[in-house]
């Protein structure tokens, strides 16, 4: 009898593995925090996963241009204060429920109410009204050129009405996207959503998600991924060490990710202009060193190069003070692993002493980013790729990062500039205003730009994805396998 049980167990195990092995590819890499409630997602590595399961109202093509998503059409009011969206007919969630306007309203309100990074991007939304089963109206507080791009973020993917995130569920996310997030044999998989239009054309039916081994970016040594999009330099180096590098092909990916440092409102020295200037001089100096050591391009401002409103000047002259006995305490906090290598290679404490600081560096987990203010840092390091291809995509998220409303943080003069930029309808003027804001944020010592973070696409040589251009996140359902 026991033998029979074992046989059955082994048979089932083998059968399930056979099922999995059939057209199953390994996706690298997934943060330990995933899956999470979409409204809480603030990591780039997480939200590109959301994009495979959830679909937003607005899509972007591979050039970053707005195209129809779940909203198949829309029209703006003449004053630009409202937009009426027509929801696609006959679309279904992976659980079989039909998509309606109610689901859209529920999703958007959910985000607005949470006060998260995502809610910052949608802060110009005043109200969401249902007009009929497949029509909604979004009312805005003020005209916002970037509102459609804000609605294209993966985190704003539509979920069913009354759905709530349950990590214990075997299908933690319910969406209308090309894949379902399913737990199979204690492993999370992306499995083709049969209710997705033209799902039969999706070549790879099953992706097994490979996780980082810890909270950092260490990868498992005994698992060879088939496809690793949006890999940083460190991840790339790790992957290429796993196996014969000839088995992989590596391509540069368009990247707007970069690092920066911000004078933080929760710090003890926040109100001291002298310390602020000296601290920002110290960080500009250290970041210049860091970009040289890490051999990365120095960033120029909060708006990265390639996005409308970026600045071109990367260097800022700094003044080293006369070294004196009295040192000021300076606390810097950061989350995630993006600065680990920088801190390892650049002796920050030594440089800090040259600027008359006693430095303390606090490292937090990436998931603790919303709690960074609790550590009362004078300065925080941040690394992000932005929300979308627009100046707003890099500024709107700052409020959550800084723990303070951004307009209040930057003061009345810059706030006026910011609001002017947000409402400007002439794109050239808008870009000029954002550029001025970008320059002044640095020159008035609110922030110091770090370095650009290059991203790569790594895949086994038969994997063929669409050319990585200005689309923000990859689309796994478009990945093909070469016949040769």
């Amino acid at each position: 009898m026991q033998t029979i049980k074992y046989s059955i167990f082994i048979g089932v195990f083998l059968m399930s593995n056979l099922t999995l092995a059939d057209n199953t590819y390994k996706y690298g890499y997934v943060p330990q925090s995933f899956p999470r409630d979409p409204v809480e997602v603030n990591q780039f590595a997480e939200h590109i996963l959301l994009g495979q399961v959830l679909e937003p109202l607005i899509e972007t093509d591979k050039f970053g241009n707005v195209v129809a998503g779940l909203a198949e059409s829309w029209k703006f009011s003449k004053d630009g204060l409202s937009v009426e969206l027509k929801i696609a007919n006959k679309r279904k969630f992976s659980n079989g429920k039909e998509l309606t306007a109610k689901d859209v309203k529920y999703t958007l309100n959910r985000i607005l109410e949470k006060k998260s990074q995502s809610s910052n991007f949608l802060s110009s939304i005043q109200e969401v009204k249902i007009l009929n089963d497949h029509k909604i109206e979004i009312k805005l507080k003020d005209p916002n050129v970037a509102i459609l791009k804000a609605l294209s973020r993966d985190q704003v993917g539509i979920v069913p009405e009354n759905w709530n995130f349950d990590k214990k569920s075997n299908e933690a996310l319910i969406g209308t996207g090309p894949y379902r997030l399913l737990k199979l044999n204690d492993k999370w998989h992306f499995v083709v959503n049969e209710l997705y239009p033209n799902s039969s054309s999706i070549v790879i039916k099953n992706w097994e998600l490979l996780y980082f081994t810890g909270q950092g970016i260490d990868i498992p040594q005994n698992e060879i991924p088939d496809f690793v999009p949006c890999a940083t330099q460190a991840i790339k180096d790790s992957v290429l060490k796993l196996n014969n590098t000839k088995a992989f092909e590596v391509f540069d990916q368009v990247s707007f990710a970069q690092t920066s440092a911000w004078w933080h409102p929760s710090g003890a020295n926040y109100d001291s202009r002298e310390i602020q200037n000296r601290a920002m001089d110290f960080i500009e100096y250290a970041f210049q060193k860091g970009s040289e050591v890490l051999k990365q391009r120095r960033a120029t401002g909060v708006i990265p190069k390639g996005v409308s409103g970026h600045t071109t000047e990367s260097k800022l002259s700094v003044n080293k003070p006369k070294i004196n006995q009295k040192k000021t305490n300076l606390r810097i906090a950061y989350s995630g692993s993006m600065f680990d290598e920088f801190i390892k290679q650049v002796d920050l404490k030594k440089i800090a002493k040259e600027f008359n600081f006693d430095l303390e560096v606090v490292r937090l987990e990436i998931t603790d980013l919303p709690k960074i203010s609790e550590n009362k840092p004078d300065m925080v390091f941040g690394a992000w790729a932005g929300g979308f291809n627009d100046p707003e995509g890099f500024i709107a998220l700052l409020s959550g990062f800084l723990g303070k409303d951004f307009k209040a943080y930057i003061g009345s003069s810059l706030s006026k500039l910011y609001l002017q930029a947000r409402s400007e309808q002439d794109w050239t003027k808008r870009s000029t205003i954002f550029r001025e804001l970008n320059e002044r944020l640095r020159s008035e010592r609110y922030m110091a730009p770090g370095w650009g973070i290059p991203l790569y696409v790594i895949g086994k040589d038969k994997i063929n994805e669409e050319e990585a251009t200005f689309r923000y996140t990859p689309r796994l359902h478009l990945v093909k396998i070469d016949a040769k």
Partner: protein
């Protein structure tokens, strides 16, 4: 007589207008073809411009940024080819036009912008009107330029040719005219070959005329010769039985009839040989005493003209009794007969005197026939000495006699020259090669 061809008239009425019209038509067709190619290229480039504009206007429109869309439309109007841009969305209409004052050639391109590739719903319709009237203006200007240039070049060319070839044109006209009349003339040849050809043509015309005359004459002579032999035979027979006529007169009659018979035989012979160049017919010539020949013809002529008018024919051979000349007897007799007959005809109706003399120089025998007749006008005399066949005021002269005599004498290697003075008389001088 045909009128000479007017080259100038021919050129202005036919060649020049035809060339001008033909060239204008060809140039116009080429320009029209060029216009079509230019237009097709222009339309293709405008399609590209339109697609490029659609690409630039799409995102502002789809994101509801109509201010930006209007700005981009206005900027697009900096392209002078674009007359109007119209954009229609559910929210607004954008209509931007440049200052176009009426246009003959418009190209309207229009497209609906869809929300996505799989969508059928449009968020905007964009129309761009291109103004191609500059192409029409351009082509008209090109045509007028071409016509003006062509006409200017035509006149310039004609002027140059007229000046340069004026002399040639004059000679061409003269050549053509002389070819029509059969006379040759001297030319300062600029078109040497044409001049030579013309001279040959003139000579051939003259020869053809002479041949035509000769042919007819030969035919007639042949007929006469044939017919005359019978009565001559009768005359010979009868004259031998005339006892009442003196011996010397019977001998004269026989000599004369014999000469007539010889002439007839020669004519028949010539007609059988065919009409080759009569100037170069083989002549039987030999050295012989001249005096008996001259005596015989003088005797004949005396007898011929003894009954009519008071004509004295004298002969002096005292200085030429033993002169041996190089000649053909029959031909020489004929020549002398014709010359004496001419002299007789030139005499006054009432009386006249013809002196015939045979003498010699160191190398030549000289026969002179001098009369005191009316003489020959100077201009005629010149032509006669040049060998032209003329008749001047003679009642029955055919003009061939002197010309024929000259040619005969020259065929002997001799010469014939005429001296004359009106109302005084004429002297014909025959020079023959002499046996030394």
């Amino acid at each position: 007589m045909k009128q000479p061809i007017s080259i100038k008239k021919y050129f202005f009425t036919l060649i020049a207008p035809t060339a001008i019209i033909f060239s204008i038509v060809v140039v116009t067709l080429l320009l029209i073809n060029d216009f079509r190619i230019t237009e097709a290229t222009r339309l293709d480039s405008q399609k590209l411009i339109f697609q490029s504009f659609l690409h630039s206007i799409r995102q502002p429109l789809i994101q509801g940024s109509f201010v930006e869309a209007r700005i981009r439309s206005k900027e697009m109007l900096n392209n002078k080819q674009i007359a109007c841009i119209d954009i229609t969305t559910p929210e607004t209409n954008i209509h931007e036009c440049s200052n176009v004052k009426g246009s003959l050639k418009l190209n309207l391109l229009s497209e609906k912008l869809l929300f996505s590739e799989s969508s059928t719903e449009a968020f905007a319709e964009v129309s761009v009107t291109f103004d191609n009237s500059d192409l029409l203006k351009h082509i008209w200007i090109q045509i007028l330029k071409a016509i003006a240039i062509f006409i200017a070049l035509g006149f310039l060319l004609f002027g140059i040719l007229s000046i340069a070839f004026k002399q040639v044109r004059r000679e061409l006209e003269e050549v053509l005219e002389s070819s029509n009349t059969g006379k040759s003339s001297n030319y300062v040849f600029k078109i040497t070959e044409f001049g030579r050809l013309s001279e040959r043509v003139a000579e051939n015309i003259v020869f053809a005329q002479e041949m035509a005359g000769s042919k007819a004459a030969f035919a007639l002579a042949s007929q006469v010769a044939h017919d005359i032999r019978s009565p001559i035979s009768t005359l010979n027979l009868v004259s031998s039985t005339l006892n009442e006529v003196s011996e010397d007169k019977r001998e004269l009659i026989q000599l004369a009839s014999q000469r007539i018979n010889d002439i007839a035989n020669q004519l028949l012979e010539k007609s059988k040989q065919g009409l080759t160049n009569s100037h170069h017919q083989a002549q039987a010539m030999h050295f012989d005493l001249l005096s008996p020949v001259i005596e015989s013809i003088v005797a004949e002529k005396k007898a011929q003209y003894s009954g009519s008018r008071n004509i004295t024919i004298s002969l002096d051979i005292s200085n030429g009794l033993n002169v041996i000349g190089y000649f053909n007897k029959m031909e020489l007799l004929r020549c002398l007969s014709n010359i004496i007959n001419n002299s007789v005809e030139s005499l006054d109706q009432a009386s006249g005197k013809i002196d015939i003399r045979l003498s010699q120089t160191l190398n030549e025998a000289v026969i002179t026939i001098q009369d005191n007749g009316l003489g020959i006008p100077h201009d005629i005399l010149i032509k006669l000495n040049e060998g032209q066949a003329l008749s001047h005021g003679k009642v029955s002269g055919n003009g061939l006699g002197v010309s024929h005599a000259r040619k005969v004498i020259e065929s002997f290697g001799g010469k014939l020259h005429i001296e004359s003075e009106q109302n005084v008389g004429t002297k014909v001088i025959i020079l023959l090669k002499k046996s030394i």
